[in-house]
């Protein structure tokens, strides 16, 4: 694959037409300079490393330990970031102090529980029991604690069941939410006290408490000790508070110093991680003294890569330099287009359908113009075009500002496509002038209208119509049509025919692109048995239709083109009668029909047989003249190239060709019909805008009331912006997209390549963990 190169002979190769020529390169780096080398290559960003250790799990690789350390560092840095963002929002405790804080609040809530517990204690029940029971010698124990409120009912029931009712439980609601010491979150809780008798009951209750996540707190029976505990705890609390405030100050200072270096650290860690990941893709030499890496790089980058390697060797004081060599391979190289900020968005539109096969003709070359053009055919209004232009100029003007900051999803999309929108708006101003629509209003900008009344009284203007007295209106649609009764029939006929003409032109362009592809890949079969019959088929039917449309316009004939086209197939021998547009039309039609019919088997049959023959010839040649190539082929084999003669399944090739032929023949009809969407959408656009103008603005004007007029203007502006400028732009965009992806690109575009993804540090931002 790599040996295919060079342009089409006469002219220099066109930028963007073909993806950059790529080569598979091998880099042998001594161990000691490997890290620096990869780092320099990452700065350069023009080498896509191949994973040579794909059979090894991440843990078996050479630099697994380093990656682990990087991961650990990244975790720490993330922790700092968390802490910083927390501190930024509200100066709360850091991790260490947070735990202290938590225990403090836990104790605080404990006090509360004690207070509530005291209430419980004051209930006469306990005293009663105490007073009644001492004779029985039953030791009545109790547990106190907190249980989540939503679980409290179940908790009580389970306790009751487990002890067969031999307990006494009291619960009380705590009004404020309590910080849970386990999770650190605030939760609504109940305080409970359970009285029980016997050790077995105690152990059961303890288990249940654990199961429900109820925290128990020690609680003394004697009032004196309770008071003592209270003072102790509040003393501790005060102490902790001072500790926390001191800690907060300390933490703030610490975080500020971290904050200064945070970005730097973050970048460094990510860079290191990326470097070690890449180093892991390199395979270790048998001597364990150097690393061997393979990867794709553009041919033009060879010297830059070599320079980087040399620089790395010098900077790392390595005794031996790195070795750089180009490998030969049969593998399909990645696709790499060098785009600039203008062409990127258009290339992305094409890539969204499929990444071009290596060195395949790139539809973007024409899409840059035809995409906005077809959009504008559907969006023809120079008022709306100017609005769009102003909006996108705003984006382009503040390009520097916007590109450095983070934008919302929709804004991001609009900003990314700002040059697409610029082209779209320029073309829609042009087509708007052609359609003669400015917010649906026509202006006689270029000349007076070509039509006038038949006589001085103008009596027939509403019945038979006006008459053409001057030359045709020189640029665009005559303004006189606006608002007339025959406006729609005229515009429909015009726009429908225009859609077909533009469609046939674009489909021809697509087929011509397939010719450039065939020529570039030196495939005579594709020229003679694909390009030529396809051209003939399309142009004998729809090219002929286009010519008929133009002839009809030029001669002013009344012929019915539907009738001509339909009866060209149904009864080609029949006389055309009044539908004849030019002499010998029948003979011409018969010839075209014959050519179209012949071109179908021409497309279908020869190609598979020729491919088979070519394959056989190649196969024979291989079995003889092998010997002198063995060395190289062996080397290619060891380099992991998917070398070997591919299987040739004739039936598969034939079915593929059959499908391709059927697709093209049916597609010629359906794609032509598909271009009628240009007509439909441009009609919808002009009708909508004239409805908004007449039914809102003109009607509001008619009331002669300033208030209604203001409301009317506001409604008009919102409808124009919301419906015409946003929704219609979107729908016209999508339809233009479809016309390019399907109707244009299916004529030549394979789109089964994969994108060149070099190892680089610039895109580090969206690298995932």
């Amino acid at each position: 694959m790599a040996e295919i190169g060079g342009g089409g002979g006469c002219c220099p190769p066109m930028d963007l037409m073909r993806s950059e020529p790529m080569q598979l390169v091998q880099v042998i780096v001594p161990m000691e300079s490997a890290h620096l080398t990869v780092s320099y290559l990452g700065d350069l960003g023009l080498l896509q490393f191949k994973d040579l250790n794909s059979d090894k799990s991440p843990f078996q690789r050479t630099y697994a330990a380093q990656i682990k350390r990087c991961g650990e560092m990244a975790r720490k840095i993330r922790f700092f970031k968390d802490q910083m963002s927390k501190a930024g929002v509200s100066p709360k405790a850091g991790e260490f102090f947070a735990s202290a804080h938590r225990s403090a609040t836990a104790q605080q809530s404990e006090i509360e529980s004690q207070q509530v517990g005291e209430d419980v204690l004051e209930t006469p029940l306990l005293q009663e029991e105490k007073s009644v029971d001492p004779t029985k010698q039953v030791k009545l124990g109790f547990l106190t604690g907190l249980v989540p409120r939503e679980k409290s009912m179940v908790f009580e029931r389970i306790l009751f069941r487990a002890t067969r009712g031999n307990i006494f439980i009291r619960q009380s609601v705590i009004e404020e939410s309590v910080v849970d010491p386990n999770s650190g979150e605030k939760a609504e809780k109940n305080v409970f006290v359970v009285f029980y008798s016997g050790e077995r009951a105690k152990s059961k209750i303890l288990k249940i408490c654990e199961a429900f996540g109820a925290n128990r707190y020690p609680f003394s029976e004697e009032l004196g000790r309770q008071a003592q505990m209270m003072t102790e705890v509040s003393g501790q609390l005060a102490e902790l508070k001072t500790t926390i405030s001191a800690g907060l100050d300390h933490r703030k200072i610490l975080l500020e110093t971290i904050g200064d270096k945070f970005e730097q650290w973050n970048l460094k860690v990510r860079k290191e991680k990326a470097i070690y990941h890449t180093l892991n893709m390199l395979s270790l030499d048998v001597t364990k003294k150097c690393l061997v890496g393979e990867g794709w790089s553009p041919v033009f980058a060879a010297t830059e890569i070599q320079e980087a390697l040399q620089r790395a060797a010098v900077d790392s004081n390595s005794q031996v330099g790195s070795i750089f060599q180009v490998l030969r391979t049969k593998e399909m190289p990645p696709t790499f287009f060098r785009t600039n900020k203008f062409t990127t968005a258009f290339q992305e539109i094409v890539d969204a359908y499929g990444v071009a096969k290596y060195q395949e003709a790139n539809p973007t070359v024409f899409t840059i113009v035809t995409f906005p053009f077809l959009f504008a055919v559907m969006f023809g209004d120079w008022g709306h075009g100017i609005c769009l232009l102003l909006a996108t100029m705003c984006l382009i003007w503040n390009e520097k500002k916007f590109s450095s900051q983070k934008l919302g999803d929709i804004m991001e999309m609009a900003f990314g496509g700002r040059y697409v929108i610029l082209m779209m708006s320029l073309f829609s101003i042009y087509t708007g002038l052609i359609y003669n629509e400015f917010f649906s209003l026509p202006f006689p900008l270029f000349a007076p209208s070509a039509y006038e009344c038949r006589d001085a009284s103008c009596s027939e203007a509403t019945t038979i119509g006006l008459i053409k007295t001057r030359d045709t209106y020189p640029f665009g649609v005559d303004p006189v049509w606006h608002g007339t009764r025959s406006e729609l029939p005229f515009l429909n006929s015009l726009k429908m025919k225009m859609s077909i003409l533009l469609g046939v032109a674009q489909m021809n362009l697509g087929i011509i692109m397939s010719f450039f592809n065939a020529k570039f890949f030196k495939s005579a079969v594709n020229i003679w048995f694909q390009f030529v019959p396809q051209m003939i088929f399309l142009n004998c039917l729809f090219g002929y239709l286009s010519v008929l449309i133009i002839i009809k316009w030029c001669t002013g004939s009344q012929a019915d083109l539907y009738h001509v086209m339909i009866y060209m197939f149904l009864s080609p021998m029949e006389d055309l009668g009044e539908n004849q547009l030019f002499p010998n039309q029948k003979t011409v039609q018969l010839t075209f029909l014959f050519l179209a019919l012949v071109s179908v088997p021409w497309m279908l049959l020869p190609k598979p047989f020729i491919l088979k023959k070519q394959h056989e010839a190649r196969h024979q040649g291989q079995s003889y003249a092998q010997l002198d190539e063995t060395d190289e082929s062996l080397q290619v084999e060891t380099n992991g190239g998917s070398h070997g003669h591919e299987e040739f399944e004739f039936s598969e090739i034939f079915v593929h060709q059959l499908i391709h032929t059927i697709e093209f023949v049916l597609g010629a009809v359906s794609n032509t019909a598909s271009y009628l969407r240009l007509w439909a959408l441009s009609l919808a656009h002009s009708e909508l805008s004239s409805v908004f103008y007449e039914k809102v603005l003109v009607m509001a004007w008619g009331f002669n009331n300033i208030f209604i007029l203001i409301v009317g203007i506001l409604v008009f502006i919102f409808a124009t912006v919301g419906v015409l400028l946003v929704m219609e732009t979107l729908s016209a965009f999508l339809h233009a997209l479809r016309l390019h992806w399907v109707e244009y690109q299916n004529k030549f575009y394979e789109g089964d390549g994969y994108k060149f993804a070099p190892f680089t540090f610039t895109l580090d931002g969206n690298e995932d963990e």
């Binding site: 002219c11 220099p12 190769p13 066109m14 930028d15 963007l16 037409m17 070359v365 024409f366 840059i368 113009v369 035809t370 053009f373 055919v377 073309f427 042009y430 087509t431 052609i434 070509a450 039509y451 203007a461 509403t462 019945t463 038979i464 119509g465 006006l466 008459i467 053409k468 030359d471 045709t472 209106y473 020189p474 640029f475 665009g476 649609v477 005559d478 006189v480 049509w481 608002g483 007339t484 009764r485 025959s486 406006e487 029939p489 005229f490 006929s493 015009l494 025919k497 225009m498 003409l501 533009l502 032109a505 133009i550 316009w553 030029c554 001669t555 002013g556 009344q558």
Partner: protein, 70 residues
């Protein structure tokens, strides 16, 4: 202004734009070829659009019939 004259104007505009691009931002033959292609495509598209609308109005089969209300 007939069909041919305006077509010639389109051709002239296309040629002038091509020359401008080649002279003003000359960035090597490959890039120039891309720019030329873009300009030629744009000119052809615009010309086609104009030509279609012009031809359609040359020999009118339908004439404008004014609305009763006007």
């Amino acid at each position: 202004m007939g069909f041919l004259v305006t077509t010639l104007i389109f051709v002239a505009v296309g040629v002038i734009a091509s020359l401008c691009v080649i002279i003003c931002c000359n960035r090597g033959p490959s890039t120039n070829l891309l720019h030329l292609t873009l300009i030629i495509t744009a000119t052809v598209c615009c010309w086609m659009m104009w030509a279609i609308v012009y031809l359609a109005q040359m020999k009118p089969l339908i004439v404008p019939i004014l609305n009763e209300g006007e």
